[in-house]
């Protein structure tokens, strides 16, 4: 599988110690950690807002070898509370950007479905602004979109909707996504989950496997989603053989 981005031995101030992260083409990665663990700092490093001697490769090439314009056309970073508008409405913002026609139509369709297309930028809610930024970033970045703190202003249901949309994009254009979060609620929808604690990646891999490590997750200051938490604990008490994500199945397994 082609690697879009790799971060090697990233060490930065007291936040990160020898962090390694590989993002493959067409994958969604969830990067979870407690407050102030450095999630936004990582996003800012990837956005080249924090400068330093980092070993970060984009499509196999040192990222410093890309011009700003080239880099921007490959990677975009979305922040939950930074909205930079040039035009009056999301529709006009889309028209201003250089986006492939087919992709633009697809993104505009989503914006229309969300009823934000012709709304004034100033009147968009946080949730709507975030959607607008995500759609624009998907349009602009050919390879990777980083969404920092996606769940800050979204409910778990709304976050789920974003994940499903990102999945469509990975299928259509093989785009990759890195989502930073403090909530593990929807991370099962990602391809890979990283858990950061005190500057180190303590867990990484398939989300369902990772989410079963409840002790380590709790120590990282995070909460295991209810159904997984319950299943794991029941399994530990020999009341259940397998993890169930659906309550009906879990209840059937327990009482049959």
């Amino acid at each position: 599988m082609e690697v879009v981005l790799n971060i090697n031995d990233l060490t930065y101030e007291n936040l990160f110690q020898n962090i390694n992260l590989n993002i493959e083409k067409g994958k969604i990665i969830s990067f979870a950690g407690c407050n102030n663990c450095g999630k936004t700092t990582l996003s800012r490093i990837l956005d080249r807002k924090i400068k330093g001697n980092f070993n970060i490769n984009l499509l196999g090439k040192d990222r410093d070898d890309y011009s700003l314009q080239e880099y921007d056309s490959l990677i975009q970073v979305v922040y939950p509370d930074q909205f930079n508008w040039i035009e009056e409405t999301p529709y006009e913002e889309f028209q201003m950007k250089k986006i492939d026609t087919e992709k633009k139509e697809f993104l505009l369709k989503k914006a229309k479905e969300l009823k934000i297309l012709d709304k004034e930028n100033q009147k968009l809610t946080r949730k709507e602004s975030l959607w607008q930024q995500i759609l624009l970033a998907i349009g602009k970045a050919k390879e990777l979109v980083v969404i920092d703190g996606m769940d800050c202003y979204l409910t778990p249901k709304e976050t789920e909707e974003v994940y499903y949309f990102l999945r469509e994009c990975t299928k259509k254009w093989k785009q990759s996504f890195l989502i930073t979060t403090t909530s593990l609620e929807n991370t099962l929808l990602a391809d890979e989950l990283y858990i950061l604690k005190e500057g180190e990646i303590i867990l990484k891999g398939d989300p369902l496997t990772i989410l079963q490590k409840d002790n380590l997750i709790n120590k990282a200051g995070l909460k295991v989603p209810f159904m997984i938490d319950l299943s794991v604990k029941l399994r530990d008490y020999d009341l259940l053989k397998e993890i169930s994500l659906e309550k009906e199945t879990l209840i059937d397994n327990l009482w049959n």
């Binding site: 950690g33 407690c34 407050n35 102030n36 936004t40 939950p80 509370d81 946080r126 703190g149 769940d151 800050c152 202003y153 409910t155 778990p156 403090t182 909530s183 709790n218 200051g221 995070l222 909460k223 209810f226 159904m227 938490d229 319950l230 604990k233 029941l234 008490y237 009341l239 309550k247 009906e248 879990l250 209840i251 327990l254 009482w255």
Partner: protein, 263 residues
């Protein structure tokens, strides 16, 4: 502070509800801005609102309003100064609060929410999401309100910080007899953290009462499309479909103990 609303006329409907004194109240539902307007005393108030058994009128309204602080979900940018200290001082001036020992007051307000007093000289823009949220709360506490309304306070906070914040709120409630209102659409948080719950749906109060008892009225809540806490939903299905003899509870460990006994 107890806030009682009696037959408040709104969109041809009449609203009655109580924000209980010295309790952690929960408020959930849709179009909550309507009901929040009433609680914040921003709507009409023709003797339909009572605070501590006293009717709110045009004369006392602004005095009472000063005792109610709303911690909004989003930071409301104003023309404050840049550092936390400057923002705090501006806020106190706005509310005409002049403490004897200003520095101590500012530092204590930060400490109570778990922020380092050294942050006073930091620029607000450099704070992380969670620090901004904690600072927003400390700014509210600085004004020594009688009622604190927190709108979706936990969205940017991790589990550990959520627990810490709730501990602070419980301490404030118990030690200083403050009334807390948590406005949220997360039933899990409301179930775990609140004592009294008001559900506002389609421009009316659907139901209000003790949170733990109220969430056990599953059939009623389902009929009105009210989202349930995950643990309640699980227990409800186990009782309904398997006749499982397990009791409604809040803590997942209690649920496991019950399952262990009855499976």
């Amino acid at each position: 502070m107890e806030l009682v609303v009696k037959e408040y006329k709104r969109k041809e409907k009449s609203l009655s509800f109580t924000i209980k004194e010295k309790e952690i109240n929960g408020l959930t539902g849709n179009h909550l801005e309507e009901i929040l307007k009433i609680i914040k005393l921003n709507g009409e108030h023709n003797n339909q609102i009572e605070i501590n058994h006293e009717k709110v009128n045009e004369k006392n309204r602004y005095e009472v309003k000063k005792k109610i602080i709303v911690i909004e979900e989003e930071w409301q940018e104003k023309s404050f100064g840049n550092t936390l200290e400057e923002i705090m001082i501006d806020q106190m001036k706005e509310y005409e609060i002049y403490p004897k020992n200003l520095e101590k007051k500012l530092k204590d307000s930060l400490k109570i929410v778990g922020l380092e007093p050294t942050l006073l000289t930091r620029e607000f823009a450099t704070l992380s999401q969670s620090e901004k949220k904690k600072f927003q709360i400390s700014l509210g506490l600085l004004l020594n309100p009688e009622m604190i309304i927190l709108i979706e306070p936990f969205k940017v906070l991790d589990q550990k910080n959520r627990k810490k914040l709730m501990m602070v709120m419980k301490k404030i409630k118990e030690n200083f007899q403050k009334t807390i209102v948590i406005v949220s659409n997360d039933p899990n948080i409301l179930y775990e953290e609140t004592d009294h719950l008001i559900i506002y749906k389609n421009d009316k109060i659907l139901v209000e009462g003790k949170t733990k008892e109220l969430y056990q009225r599953v059939e009623f809540l389902k009929r009105h499309k009210v989202e349930l806490p995950e643990i309640i939903e699980f227990i409800y299905y186990a009782r309904k479909n398997k006749n499982a003899k397990i009791d409604y509870c809040v803590d997942i460990r209690d649920l496991i103990k019950d399952i262990y006994k009855h499976v």
